[in-house]
Structure formats: structure tokens, C-alpha cells
């Protein structure tokens, strides 16, 4: 047979792999993405990171060792051109070697296991002096509630820097949603690993940002048609800025002056007519009286304080809002018709759209 000529090429594969791996690591280091798990920005992301790095080196060492052995045997023991056709020595095994390659990996793993178990408990522990944020996963947007301040918001939320935030999470409020709830997962890689939100149960996750800035994430547990469009934005503020944000959010929404197009929009918002469902039956714009408690849709009291909407996938621009109200499904696939989930198309006329969009844009 003519295989010998191919042995040289065999050698190139692992080399190519190595080059590839190296290139990949380098590229990663200069990645600037705000959703990068390799770039922790707080203690709850840092600790796992510090754990995985040595493990990655160990894995790389094992990898190089095994591939090295393979390459070595391939090169050394290929059948040579001048081979006499006799058979090699028939070796059946070697007990000492078997013991060695049973014990060494076991020891390596035992060494890795200790910090792993420690890490598990550390990350899950209740931190000191934390801020609680309740998180509810809906199909397909996140809702946030600050029990300390009685603030509701959606998709985007703010946290103070240098202070642990403990998320108390569940999926879909059964009482006020036709969506009986499916499993979602909260994941902002630079702040912490992910944790699932399970309907009917409460799970917890600690996050913390050391630096102010914006941290991105998204739902990481497949939750149906718009799973890809269920994103998370965290704004981390220095303490003073955070207090200002809280202050702004606790304000009731301004009621537009009579006769303006915004006021027209507000009327439509409360009562759409023609047997159409009113916006207010799903959305809350809290104007100061009564409970501040949203229904099944996102709280819109300070809509404009957010940069993006609809699962944080669209910029908060006039055109986008208009398109969203005109035909929500074209902006984000939902299942209102079949399942009652998401935002319905309310067949708004152009005039109604003008008024409603103007009203939305006044909600800052």
C-alpha cells in the first residue's frame, strides 16, 4: 500500500490546530465586546475566571502531551519505505503504565476538585450589605423590581458600583400573565455566571460591577420563539449617580398638558375604542396615585429613561416606536394570536400612531 507518503501531512494537523488556538486566544484578548465572559468586571465573575484559567492551562498541557504522543508515534512508527514486511514486537500491555495513567489524571482532577467545590459555595453565598432586585422572566423580556424603592423597570436596569446586588428571580408572575411561565436564564457575563429563572420557584444570583458602565447580557435558556430577542442591559452607576437614577425613577410620570398631541396620546393610551384592548390594560404609566403595580406588559412610566426597548433589541427612536406600535410582530416575533403572549397588533391609524408615539416620547 501507498500510505507512507501521507505521513508528513498527518503531522501538520496538530500544528495547524496549535496555530489556530494561539490565534484565537490573541484575538480574544483584544475583543471589546460588552458581553465578554473572558473579561470579568466584578468579584462574582472574577472568582470563576481565576479558577478556570489554571484549569485551562492544565487542559492545554494534557492536550499537548496527548497530541505529542500521537504525533510522535505516527512519525516514529510509520511503516518505512525499506520495511522488510516483518511484524513488530507483539506487546499486549503493561501493568505499570496502566497504573500510572490511572493515578496521574486522578491526582490532577483531585487537585482541581478542591477549589471547584469551594468556589461553588462562595459564589452562592449571601453577600453582606447587598441591594435586592427582584427579577421576573417573561416571554420575552425581563422585568425588574426594587423592593427598597418600589421601582419597576424592564429590560434595562441600574445598579450601584462596588456593592453586591442579589437578584431574587422567578419566571412569569402567574397572577397577572397569560404566560404561565417557562424557564429563562439571567446572564450578564461580565458581572457573574448565569442562573436559571424557574416558574414557581425562587433562585438567587449575586452580581456586582466594580466600574461604572454598561454591561450586556441576554437570556441564556431557550424559551421559545423570541429567545434570541430577550436581552439584558445593566447600567452601573457611582453611588451619587445611582441615587439620582433612583430618585428619577420614583417620580410619577408627568401628565401632558391638555390640548397637546401628547394628551391625545394619553387618552388613547387609557381608552383606545372600537373594541380594541387599551394600552393601559397591559401597561402601567404611574401618575402618582394608587399602587404602582404593572400588569402583564412592561412598566412605561419612565420609558424614555431606557435606551432600548422590546427585550432591549431596538433603539428607543421615534421610527422604531412607531413601527412597534404599528405592527409589533414585524419588530419581534411574538405569539399574541395563538398564545396571548406578547404585544398585540392594535390596528392603529396613522393619527393614533402620531399621538401615541408623541405620548411615549414624553415619558422620560
Amino acid at each position: 500500500m501507498r500510505e507512507q507518503s501521507h505521513t508528513r501531512r498527518r503531522r501538520r494537523t496538530p500544528v495547524y490546530l496549535g496555530v489556530f488556538a494561539a490565534a484565537a486566544v490573541i484575538l480574544a484578548a483584544c475583543g471589546d465586546a460588552e458581553q465578554n465572559a473572558l473579561d470579568p468586571a466584578g468579584p462574582f465573575a472574577q472568582a470563576p475566571h481565576d479558577l478556570i484559567i489554571p484549569v485551562a492551562w492544565i487542559a492545554l498541557a494534557v492536550f499537548i502531551f496527548v497530541q505529542g504522543l500521537i504525533i510522535l508515534s505516527v512519525v516514529r512508527f510509520r511503516t518505512r519505505k525499506d520495511d522488510d514486511g516483518s511484524l513488530p514486537k507483539q506487546i499486549h500491555g503493561n501493568t505499570r503504565l496502566e497504573v500510572i495513567w490511572t493515578v496521574i489524571p486522578a491526582v490532577i482532577l483531585a487537585v482541581i476538585a478542591v477549589p471547584t467545590v469551594q468556589g461553588i459555595f462562595e459564589v452562592m453565598e449571601e453577600p453582606e450589605d447587598y441591594l435586592t432586585v427582584e427579577v421576573i422572566g417573561h416571554r420575552w423580556w425581563f422585568e425588574y423590581y426594587y423592593p427598597d424603592y418600589d421601582i419597576y423597570t424592564a429590560n434595562e436596569f441600574a445598579i450601584p458600583t462596588d456593592r453586591p446586588v442579589r437578584l431574587e428571580m422567578t419566571a412569569a408572575d402567574l397572577a397577572r400573565s397569560p404566560d404561565l411561565g417557562v424557564i429563562h436564564s439571567f446572564w450578564v457575563p461580565r458581572l457573574a455566571g448565569k442562573q436559571d429563572l424557574v416558574p414557581g420557584q425562587t433562585t438567587f444570583l449575586n452580581i456586582q460591577a466594580d466600574e461604572p458602565g454598561r454591561y450586556l447580557g441576554q437570556c441564556a435558556e431557550y424559551c421559545g420563539v423570541s429567545h434570541a430577542n430577550m436581552r439584558i442591559r445593566v447600567e452601573a452607576y457611582e453611588e451619587a449617580d445611582f441615587d439620582a437614577w433612583v430618585e428619577a425613577q420614583t417620580q410619577p410620570a408627568a401628565v401632558p398638558a391638555d390640548g397637546t398631541v401628547e394628551a391625545e396620546g394619553r387618552d388613547l393610551f387609557l381608552e383606545l375604542g372600537d373594541g380594541r384592548l387599551a394600552c393601559a390594560s397591559c401597561h402601567q404609566v404611574w401618575e402618582g396615585d394608587g399602587d404602582r403595580a404593572p400588569q402583564q406588559g412592561p412598566d412605561l412610566t419612565h420609558l424614555l429613561s431606557r435606551e432600548e426597548f422590546a427585550g432591549a433589541i431596538h433603539d428607543m427612536t421615534e421610527e422604531n416606536l412607531r413601527e412597534w406600535l404599528r405592527d409589533p410582530d414585524s419588530m419581534k416575533p411574538m405569539q399574541y394570536e395563538v398564545n396571548g403572549i406578547g404585544m398585540p397588533n392594535l390596528d392603529l391609524t396613522d393619527d393614533e400612531l402620531d399621538a401615541l408615539v408623541a405620548y411615549m416620547l414624553s415619558l422620560d
Binding site: 498527518r10 495547524y16 489556530f20 480574544a28 465586546a33 458581553q35 465578554n36 465572559a37 473572558l38 475566571h49 484549569v55 487542559a59 494534557v62 492536550f63 496527548v66 500521537i70 512508527f77 520495511d83 516483518s86 511484524l87 513488530p88 514486537k89 507483539q90 506487546i91 500491555g93 496502566e98 495513567w101 489524571p105 482532577l109 471547584t116 467545590v117 468556589g119 461553588i120 459564589v123 452562592m124 402567574l174 424557564i183 457575563p189 457573574a192 448565569k194 442562573q195 436559571d196 416558574p199 414557581g200 420557584q201 447580557g217 441564556a220 431557550y222 424559551c223 421559545g224 420563539v225 423570541s226 429567545h227 434570541a228 430577542n229 436581552r231 416575533p333 405569539q335 395563538v338 398564545n339
Partner: protein, 640 residues
């Protein structure tokens, strides 16, 4: 084979062994193996095309090639197809063809049950794919988590019922192969003389035996919840969605070893043959395989590290998961040392086997990093995991199985597959594979979650680059697959004649002529060694050097064996096919909650069962022939 049974006096039993009727009524393990193989090719093409669309959609950020609905259906069906309709049945194809040959038997223990398994597999696959025409394919991912999957819009009733049908096939096959291996070995074939492939088949089938009932329950519960108003996983009344995850992964993790162990068995046969020396540490490899299977039952919650389980469970499962690397490592090192000191021949099967060892190691190591629980929270449900399991499934299971295809092709057809094309296939396959799945490690760590229909631009340019590379990799793989397909078809027709023992092989199946004759062995061999065939060809001198035994010099070990007067071979039967059709009404009934259809299907299955039972006793049937009938003259043996 051309022999027809010339029985007289019995009605309703097909006589033909060739032609179309011969195929659809066959109970011959070899033909059934080939049918499995061809069916797998079709499903592989489907699964591959689905993944092609996935890669197309993700080639750039914010693309709109597919709608979310279609994307979700495609990745779900891709996963289901590759796992349940490609890798598992391809392993079954090898089990079918090889187990009887390797243990010196003439067929499996229950030939008609074997045909039944095949038809259930085929119809289960058709059933699943029929959902595309009936309002949409399942779109709840291959793990089918509740309560999402109990929602009607997920179409997951098709998944629950379809997989349960496939489960029936696998369970029947598992019982069949276990009995075959335990009870039909040729004289002298002790456990420690069995080829490693047979060992791995045994372990795999035990895993199936114990894992399938668990998923059967999980799927049935899903079915009841989705269609009949059950409350198993319904949070509103206190049902616990996590229970589904436990049940699924109690099956799901053994399942991944069900997919890898047959491939490990295959390369344990190929590496020694092409290193021209016996497997290093046979006992260790066998033991490690059994250990992997056993420990594999105790690690399931490592898929649930970010789910609602507490720190104690997370720790316990992290430990058991890491521990499984030890027996796997034993195998890797034994394979490498099988090559060490040998005289390696780099034919295509060998290349794929070495590729297996190399690529599987990568996937295994990333698996160990998954077990670092605190960091698993970063990796879970990202493309890093997608990379892991494609490295073990594609780089592992599929590489091994393809190696097996090249290796045993001459056994099945009597022809060689083209070596040149084979090498083209290998190198493009290896390159395309790494190009597709290598970058996913990075895109995952950079924050790209899996099962997302759009690649958000916000993830950054590096991720887009990696995704583009992955998509290019698919193009390479596609071309490579075409080369393979061409090679298969062309070699079947025009391949070089292989002779009976083209590889100078070691195990029993090569003792028989290629292609394998209908009754496998003219004389059932008596086994005196592990690697029996090798020992009939070579003797070892004191130094451990092998010297060929001149043909005819050694005593024919089978000379003393009684030449069977007449060989009993199983007769063809319509019933497995006919009965299995009952799964259609039954299945659709369960999907649509239609009790009429369910009843019809059940009645059909029962009637089919009776047809099967009262089928005339034929010589070669797996029924005890009555004394009077046993004297009936047998035509099968005469044909040779």
C-alpha cells in the same frame, strides 16, 4: 443470496430472499444492517442541511435568512436527527452487521424482532419529519425542557411521541443484542476473548436498557401534560419543571456514552490491525469502557449546574463528572500505546481512527472544564458547549463510525473503497470540522449563547468573525461529504475487489469470505484465542515476534467440528413491517389526543403481534420447531 426456501404447506410466509420483497421482509442481520446504514445516510443529509441553514443564518450578525420560527425548528430537528436518527442507528447498523460475525453466530437471537427494530426506527423518523407538513416541526430544542415543551405552540408533542417510538426500536434492539452476545457466542468465545467492539456493544446496550425507560417516562409525562391536561410539570398547580430535567438527563448523559462507546469499540479494532500489533491493555480498555458506562449514570446533573439545584448537589455532580475523565484517559493512552512500537499503515480507516483519538481528546478536555461549576455558569448554554459536544460527537462518534465504514466496507461488498478519495475525504473532513467547531470555543466564551436565531451585532466583531469561519467550515464539510458519498456509491459499483482479508485483520468476521455469505460461517469456528483469526495466521515466538503460519501447516482448529448437516437460517417475514405500521395511527393519536386513532393503532399493533406469533412455524424460525417439523428437508444449506 439467492437461495429461496422451498417450504411447502405453509401459507403466508414470504419465500423470496432477494429483490424488493426480499429486502422488506428480510430477517437477515446483514441486510438489516445495510438498511440501517442507507437510512442513516438520508437522515444525515437532512440533519446536515438543517445545520447548513443554521450556519447560513449565523454567518453574519443580524441576518434574516430564516425566521425565528424556522430557525428554532431547524436546530431542534438538527439535534434530534443527528442524535436519534444518525449516530444511534448508525451504531445499530454496525451492531447488526458485526456482532453475530464477531462472536461466531449465524444471526441475532431474535431475527424478526431485529427487523421490527429497523422498521420502528424508519417509521419513527418519518413520523418525526412528517411534522414539517403538519403545522410545523418541534421547536423546543432536543432536550425538550418543560414547561416550554408542554406549550402547544412548541409542537413538542411530536417530539415526545416520536422519540418514544424510536425508543421502542432501541429497547427491542438492546434486548436482542444483549441476548445475542450473552447467549450466542461460538464455542470457546469466552468473555475475555470477545473483540472490544463486542464488549462496547454489550455495555452500550446495557446503557440503553437502563436509560431508555427513564426517558420513556419523561417523554410520556411531557405528552400527557401537553396533550391530555396532565400537571406533572405545571408550575401553576405546583408541578416541578426541574423534575423533567432530572429525568431527561438521567437518560441524557448515559445517552452520550451510548453514542461514543460503539465508536470507541470500532477504533479499538482498527488501531491494532493497522499498527500490526494487538490492542495495548485489552483488559484495561474493556474495564474502562464498562466503568465509563457505569459512572455515566451518576453524573447527570452536570447539565443542570445553573438550574434550580443547590450547592451540595452541584459539588457532588462536579466530582463525579471529573472522575469520569479517568477511565476515558485510560482508553486514550491505551490506544496511543497500541500505535507505539507498531508498524503503522495510514489507510483511511486508520486516519479516521487517529483523528478520533486526537479530536475526542479536545472535546473531552473541554468537557472537564464544564465541570468547573463556578465557571460552568459562564459556559453553560453558550457556543462553548456547542463546541464541546460537536468535538465529542462529530470528532468522536462520527469519526469512529466513518472509520468503521471504510474498514468494513470490503466485508460487506467485497470491494475496497477508493483510498485516494478516502484521503481527500479525511483531510477535508478534519479541516472543515475544526474550522466549523474550533471557533465556537471562542465565540462561546466571548458571550454568544446557543439556540439564538439571531447573532446580535452587539456581541462584537470578533464573534462575527468566528461565526463566519464556522459557516465557511460548513461549506468545506459539505463538499467533503459529497466526496464521501461519491466514494461510497462509486466503490459499490466499481471498487477494486478486496479479497477476503484485505487488512490482514484479527477478528472472526474476516474468516468468512467477503462479501459475507448468507449463513455467515460454513462451519461455526471454535475459538481458542482472543483475536482468533490472527492466531490462525500467525504464531508468536519467544521474543514476542509474530511469524506467519504457512497456510495449511497448522491444524485446522475447526476440522474436528461437526459440519452442520443443515444450517438453520431465519425465514423472511412480513409481520415486522406490517405490525410496525400501527405506530402511525397510534402516534398521531397521541399527538392530537384522538382516542379513536390511539385505539386503532393499538388494535393494529396487537393484531400484528398475533400475525407474528401464529406465523407458520418454519425451519429457522425463532420458535421451537416441533419434532415432527424438524425433519422437514432444508433447502438453505443445500444452496451452498
Amino acid at each position: 443470496m439467492s437461495s429461496t426456501t422451498e417450504q411447502t404447506g405453509y401459507a403466508g410466509r414470504p419465500r423470496q430472499r432477494d429483490g424488493f420483497v426480499g429486502w422488506i421482509t428480510t430477517t437477515d442481520h446483514k441486510k438489516i444492517g445495510v438498511m440501517y446504514f442507507i437510512t442513516v445516510l438520508v437522515f444525515f443529509a437532512l440533519g446536515g442541511i438543517e445545520s447548513g441553514f443554521i450556519r447560513w443564518q449565523l454567518a453574519q450578525a443580524e441576518q434574516n435568512v430564516l425566521t425565528e420560527e424556522i430557525y428554532n425548528q431547524f436546530f431542534t430537528m438538527h439535534g434530534i436527527t443527528m442524535v436519534f436518527l444518525v449516530v444511534m442507528p448508525l451504531s445499530a447498523a454496525f451492531f447488526n452487521y458485526l456482532i453475530p460475525l464477531m462472536i461466531g453466530a449465524r444471526d441475532v437471537a431474535f431475527p424478526r424482532l431485529n427487523a421490527f427494530s429497523y422498521w420502528v426506527y424508519l417509521f419513527g423518523g418519518i413520523f418525526l419529519y412528517s411534522s414539517f407538513a403538519l403545522g410545523g416541526a418541534p421547536n423546543g430544542s432536543w432536550v425538550g425542557y418543560a414547561p416550554l415543551s408542554t406549550d402547544a405552540v412548541s409542537n413538542m408533542a411530536f417530539y415526545a411521541v416520536g422519540l418514544n417510538i424510536l425508543g421502542v426500536s432501541s429497547l427491542a434492539a438492546a434486548v436482542n443484542f444483549i441476548v445475542t452476545i450473552l447467549n450466542m457466542r461460538a464455542p470457546g468465545m469466552t468473555f475475555m476473548r470477545m473483540p472490544v467492539f463486542v464488549w462496547m456493544a454489550l455495555v452500550t446496550n446495557f446503557l440503553l436498557l437502563f436509560a431508555l425507560p427513564i426517558i420513556a417516562v419523561a417523554l410520556f409525562m411531557l405528552n400527557v401534560d401537553a396533550v391530555f391536561g396532565g400537571q406533572f410539570f405545571e408550575p401553576a398547580t405546583g408541578g416541578d419543571p426541574i423534575l423533567y430535567q432530572h429525568l431527561f438527563w438521567l437518560f441524557g448523559h448515559p445517552e452520550v456514552y451510548i453514542m461514543i462507546l460503539p465508536a470507541m469499540g470500532i477504533i479499538s479494532e482498527i488501531l491494532p490491525v493497522n499498527s500490526r500489533k494487538p490492542l495495548f491493555g485489552y483488559a484495561a480498555v474493556v474495564f474502562a469502557g464498562a466503568a465509563i458506562g457505569f459512572i455515566g449514570f451518576g453524573v447527570w446533573a452536570h447539565h443542570m449546574f445553573t438550574s434550580a439545584i443547590g450547592p451540595v448537589a452541584r459539588s457532588a455532580f462536579a466530582l463525579s463528572t471529573m472522575f469520569i475523565a479517568v477511565p476515558t484517559g485510560i482508553k486514550i493512552f491505551n490506544w496511543v500505546f497500541t500505535m507505539w512500537g507498531g508498524k503503522l499503515r495510514f489507510n483511511t480507516p486508520m486516519l479516521f481512527s487517529i483523528g478520533f483519538v486526537s479530536m475526542f481528546t479536545i472535546g473531552g478536555l473541554s468537557g472537564v472544564t464544564h465541570a468547573i461549576v463556578p465557571h460552568n455558569a459562564q459556559q453553560h448554554d453558550t457556543y462553548y458547549v456547542v463546541a464541546h459536544f460537536h468535538y465529542v460527537l462529530f470528532g468522536g462518534a462520527l469519526f469512529g463510525l466513518i472509520a468503521g465504514i471504510y474498514f468494513w466496507f470490503p466485508k460487506v461488498t467485497g470491494k475496497m473503497m477508493d483510498e485516494k478519495l478516502g484521503k481527500w475525504h479525511f483531510w477535508t473532513w478534519l479541516a472543515g470540522f475544526n474550522l466549523t467547531f474550533g471557533p465556537m470555543h471562542m465565540s462561546g466564551l466571548l458571550g454568544q449563547p446557543r439556540r439564538t436565531a439571531v447573532l446580535p451585532g452587539e456581541l462584537g466583531s470578533t464573534v462575527e468573525l468566528y461565526n463566519l469561519l464556522s459557516s465557511l467550515g460548513f461549506v468545506v464539510l459539505f463538499g467533503s461529504a459529497l466526496v464521501f458519498l461519491y466514494n461510497l456509491i462509486d466503490s459499490t459499483r466499481n471498487g477494486e475487489a478486496s479479497g477476503d482479508d484485505p487488512w490482514d485483520a484479527r477478528t472472526l468476521e474476516w474468516i468468512t469470505p467477503s462479501p459475507t455469505p448468507f449463513e455467515n460461517f460454513h462451519v461455526v469456528p471454535t475459538i481458542t484465542h482472543r483475536d482468533e483469526f490472527w492466531h490462525r495466521k500467525y504464531a508468536e515466538d519467544e521474543a514476542g515476534r509474530a511469524i506467519p503460519v504457512p497456510a495449511g501447516a497448522a491444524e485446522d482448529p475447526d476440522a474436528g467440528a461437526e459440519h452442520d448437516e443443515h444450517i438453520h437460517m431465519p425465514d423472511p417475514s412480513y409481520w415486522p413491517l406490517v405490525q410496525t405500521l400501527g405506530f402511525f395511527p397510534f402516534g398521531y393519536g397521541l399527538v392530537y389526543g384522538n382516542f379513536l386513532l390511539i385505539g386503532l393503532g393499538l388494535a393494529w399493533l396487537v393484531i400484528g403481534m398475533y400475525g407474528w406469533i401464529i406465523e407458520p412455524v418454519a425451519e429457522g424460525d425463532d420458535d421451537e420447531p416441533d419434532d415432527a417439523e424438524q425433519v422437514a428437508p432444508t433447502a438453505t444449506a443445500g444452496a451452498h
